[in-house]
Amino acid sequence: MSIVALKNVSRIYESGGRKVYALNKVSFTVEEGEFTVILGPSGAGKSTLLNILGGIDKADEGEVKISGQDIAALNEKEMSGYRAERVGFVFQFYNLIPTLTVRENVALMKELKRDAVSPDEALAKVGLRGHGRKFPDQLSGGEQQRVSIARAIAKNPDLLLCDEPTGALDSETGCMVLSELRRLCKEEGCTTLIVTHNANLAKAADRIVRVKNGRIVENLVNEHPVSIEEVEW
């Protein structure tokens, strides 16, 4: 069974008195453990897609099944539970809590999920052992993004959703962060979906989903993904 299965999903906004389809009858699936890249130009609807998968936005039409459960039918409270238990987020601007230390930012997950990985272990996984007592603003952009990844994977999510995770980073750091994500996807078996407008990244993905004008224009499996380091930036 596919871990992600979208069927005829639409997200409609009102703009100037007319309906604008951010997503228009989108259907696609993602298999468990896949490293998926969602590609598309600005305004294509890829972030909306990710938000719907993450339970921070709701589809107006269609089914959004995660491990067989239709999250479009969940109420607010159930949606919070879904986000807390099953989804990990990595944001373009890291979204760390500046008044908490690195370790405390990751330890937040313990508040949500009892069996969350210890913060030290999660930080070790992203190569930040020994940085736990620092505050986010004492770290570089790349390091902050790795803290964000550590926070996301600390709760062993079913889905790791990354919205332009390298958007605010230079290419070298971006490459490092993506390598980290890919490695965790493979080693931890965590299904990862990355939204990006960098088409070159498709070469490293197990699955490529192309979005344009709110529609899926391509959903293909990459039989021979290359390593992140081999991707041309």
Partner: protein, 764 residues
């Protein structure tokens, strides 16, 4: 275009700007209101005593015509008038007592005519206290009958008048004037029977130089003459005290609110400029000069501050003096009650606005100084975070988060603390004032003074014995005494005679009781003591003169004689009559003659019979009524304090709550995205407010106690009001503040479910 942007910015930040407006409004409201009130009081009071040619010295004794002549001829005296003063009872109102003045002229302490004709001794008539007349429905032209020990005087009321000597007209033993039962009247000598059985017993003078209490005694060479100088006249000293107190209170409260307004301006400007970092960068990039942008951002606060300050100033001056005078009129009598503000004070709204503009300007400079690129792309300094002590690990992540947030936003947290502290202090003060005044009446008349009635103007010895028997009463002697203080006291010789020419002499009240059966000596509300073998000193006098238990007091009763040295056996609380209290046995033991001025005792079941007309009798219930009237004024003050507390607490907490919410909006959004339930995030938000509330309440209680003490210190020196606070008041003020804080936090935290996670996470 920028004006439209400004208006939209103000609308978008309406909570903060409303808070600025309100605090500025309240600050200026209080300032112009209270200043207008005390300035008006000062002006009209000074005008009144000046225009009426208020006396400099009052002398009391049985004077002869020769005495009068001696005084008139002395170079140090510019004017002198003699009077016969008799306490008379109006027929038809046996319980009332009027101080009746019979005099040939009234050039000193001239009467102010409200209705009728000015005093003229050649006309047959009565000039009656206008307030007494009002309460008892007397009018000009009607006849009035007055009685005094068999003497009956009937005459037409020719005028309704105010006297500058009756600015404060409380009767003996009372706190509040009762114009229905007491007052004064001036009687033309033409109304008197042919042979007047009484001589001059009061002389008033105007002096050439500074007033000197001993002057009349020196002129007459009689140390038994009792004198009061203008500064010791209750009406003058109390009004002057009131003016000073109102000036201090007005300045303190206004400054507090204006300070809060300035702090809100600071936080609002910081937040506005931080949030508009991108807009500032864009405007700069488009070519707007720094000067233009500074003017734009300054105008945000300038308009709001000016509107608040000007509105508050106008409303305060318009309404507050009227409201305060309404209650002051119960205490004091002046012909004109009108606020007054010198024109320079009209600059206050501009001054407040200018101050806020300067502060805003300094903040703006910091944000607008960098070039466009720096503003657009550089991160704002976030403020260095510090590691918390190990103990903070036990707080959990929410606790640590809140702790660091408080440390990071010190100004915001400090302001919240100030708001809660102020709210608690005002609430506590209001409840404690209520308790204290409710207790005052009960304590004074059931525990401290246990007599039911007091009879003054005592008749002959035989009749006095009769009254003593029917009331199961005791004699009481009340008068005044002088205490030598400091070096002067130390330099008096062993026999108690003064050696020091530079004397420091203080006049106080003297009470000599036969026992402590009816007049208890209370060390505090529950502890009663005795002063056998020495004297007791009232706490207010002891504090004023730095006297403590065990000290040796050098003093003498008014009316001459040498000084006495007595040990202070107790410092006691007594609501009225501040000074020396001692027992008859000790007084006579010191070689003094006990001369009773009244009898105190129980109210006879069958009334006083013939003594009703012959004596002045005051009943405890009348005095309780006086305190009750005082309570009415107090209830108004309590209401103002409670309203002030709620406004201050609500505005500050809501404004800062919103500020905190806006500042942490992105963090809350992130937490929501991570899966934190709204309830949990709301709890985190409320937790911080609860912490600050607890801290504010803990500091607010002592502050409230201090405020209470301060307010009580503003009551006239002749009164002492012991503080009494019920446990319920402590609990209620703490619980009230906590509830208010919790309620406001709940209201603010209701925004959490409406956080738009998608929008919040879009932009940096």
């Amino acid at each position: 275009m920028l004006i439209r942007k400004m208006l939209r910015d103000i609308y978008k930040n309406k909570v903060q700007f409303t808070a600025i407006f309100l605090m500025m409004f309240i600050g200026c409201f209080l300032f112009s209101g209270i200043t207008g009130e005390w300035k008006g009081l000062e002006k009209h009071f000074n005008d009144y005593i000046h225009n009426q040619n208020m006396a400099d010295i009052w002398a009391f004794h049985n004077f002869t015509d020769t005495d009068m002549e001696k005084i008139r001829k002395d170079d140090r005296i510019t004017e002198a008038e003699g009077r016969i003063v008799l306490p008379m009872a109006p027929s038809g109102n046996k319980e009332a007592s009027l101080d009746c003045y019979v005099a040939e002229s009234n050039n000193i302490s001239r009467l102010h005519v409200k209705e009728g004709v000015p005093f003229d001794s050649s006309k047959k008539g009565i000039w009656l206290d206008a307030l007494y007349a009002g309460e008892n429905h007397h009018t000009v032209g009607e006849d009035m009958e007055l009685q005094y020990k068999g003497l009956e005087i009937t005459g037409e009321i020719l005028g309704l008048v105010y006297s500058p000597e009756y600015i404060y007209g409380a009767s003996e033993g009372g706190m509040m004037p009762d114009h229905k039962q007491s007052g004064f009247a001036w009687i033309s000598p033409k109304l008197l029977p042919g042979e007047m059985p009484y001589g001059l017993n009061e002389i008033v003078v105007k002096t050439a130089g500074p007033e000197k209490k001993q002057l009349i005694q020196d002129i007459l060479g009689d140390s038994k003459v009792e004198t009061v100088e203008a500064s010791g006249q209750p009406g003058i000293s109390m009004v002057k005290d009131e003016i000073e107190q109102h000036r201090t209170i007005g300045t303190a409260f206004s400054a507090a609110f204006l300070l809060i307004a300035v702090m809100i301006v600071m936080t609002t400007m910081h937040r506005l400029l931080k949030n508009q970092k991108m807009q500032i960068g864009i405007l700069k990039a488009l070519g707007f000069t720094k000067k233009k942008l500074i003017i734009h951002y300054l105008s945000h606060n300038a308009f709001i501050c000016l509107a608040g300050a000007f509105g508050g100033f106008v409303c305060g001056y318009r309404f507050l003096p009227v409201l305060i005078y309404k209650f002051m009129k119960q205490m004091y009598v002046l012909p004109l009650w009108e606020g007054f503000l010198p024109s320079v004070y009209y600059l206050l709204p501009l001054g407040c606005t200018f101050l806020c503009v300067i502060i805003s300007g300094l903040i703006c400079r910091k944000y607008l100084k960098p070039d466009a690129a720096t503003v657009l792309y550089a991160d704002l300094p976030y403020g260095k975070m510090k590691e918390l002590p190990r103990a903070a690990d036990y707080l959990g992540f929410a606790g640590r988060w809140n702790l660091r947030d408080i440390a990071r936003n010190r100004l915001r947290s400090f302001m919240s603390l100030c708001g809660i502290l102020g709210c608690t202090a005002l609430l506590f003060c209001a409840f404690a004032l209520y308790d204290t005044f409710v207790n005052l009446s009960d304590w004074t008349f059931t525990k401290q003074q246990e007599y039911e009635c007091k009879i003054t103007d005592l008749p002959e010895e035989k009749e006095q014995q009769d009254i003593l028997a029917m009331t199961d009463g005791e004699y009481l002697m009340e008068g005044s005494a002088s205490i030598l203080t400091g070096a002067a006291s130390a330099e008096s010789d062993g026999e108690g005679n003064r050696k020091n020419k530079k004397e420091a002499k203080k006049d106080v009240a003297l009470t000599v009781a036969e026992s402590t059966r009816y007049v208890k000596l209370a060390e505090d509300l529950d502890t009663f003591t005795r002063a056998d073998g020495g004297v007791a000193v009232s706490k207010k006098t002891a504090d004023r003169l730095h006297i403590k238990k065990g000290d040796i007091l050098t003093w003498k009763p008014a009316g001459g004689g040498s000084y006495i040295r007595s040990e202070v056996k107790a410092v006691i609380r007594t609501p009225l009559s501040q000074g020396i209290i001692m027992m008859r046995e000790d007084y006579e033991g010191a070689g003094r003659v006990f001369e009773p001025t009244s009898i105190i005792g129980k109210e006879p079941a069958n009334g006083f019979g013939p003594y009703e007309d012959e004596c002045s009798i005051s009943y405890q219930k009348d005095l309780t009524g006086g305190i009750d009237s005082m309570m009415e004024g107090m209830v108004m003050m309590i209401t103002i304090l409670v309203i002030g507390a709620v406004i201050l607490g609500s505005v500050m907490l809501y404004n800062l709550g919103i500020l905190s919410y806006m500042e942490r909006y992105r963090e809350f959004a992130t937490m929501k995205v991570l899966g934190f339930a709204d309830k949990k995030i709301r709890k985190i938000m409320i937790q911080q407010n609860v912490w600050l509330s607890v801290l504010g309440i803990l500091t607010g209680m002592p502050a409230g106690y201090g405020l209470l003490q301060y307010l009580l210190s503003t009551i006239p020196d002749s009164m002492d009001i012991p503080v009494f606070i019920k446990t319920a008041s402590w609990v209620l003020s703490a619980a009230g503040t906590l509830m208010l804080s919790f309620l406001i936090s709940r209201i603010v935290s209701r925004k959490i479910p409406h956080i738009d996670m998608v929008e919040a996470l879009k932009a940096e």
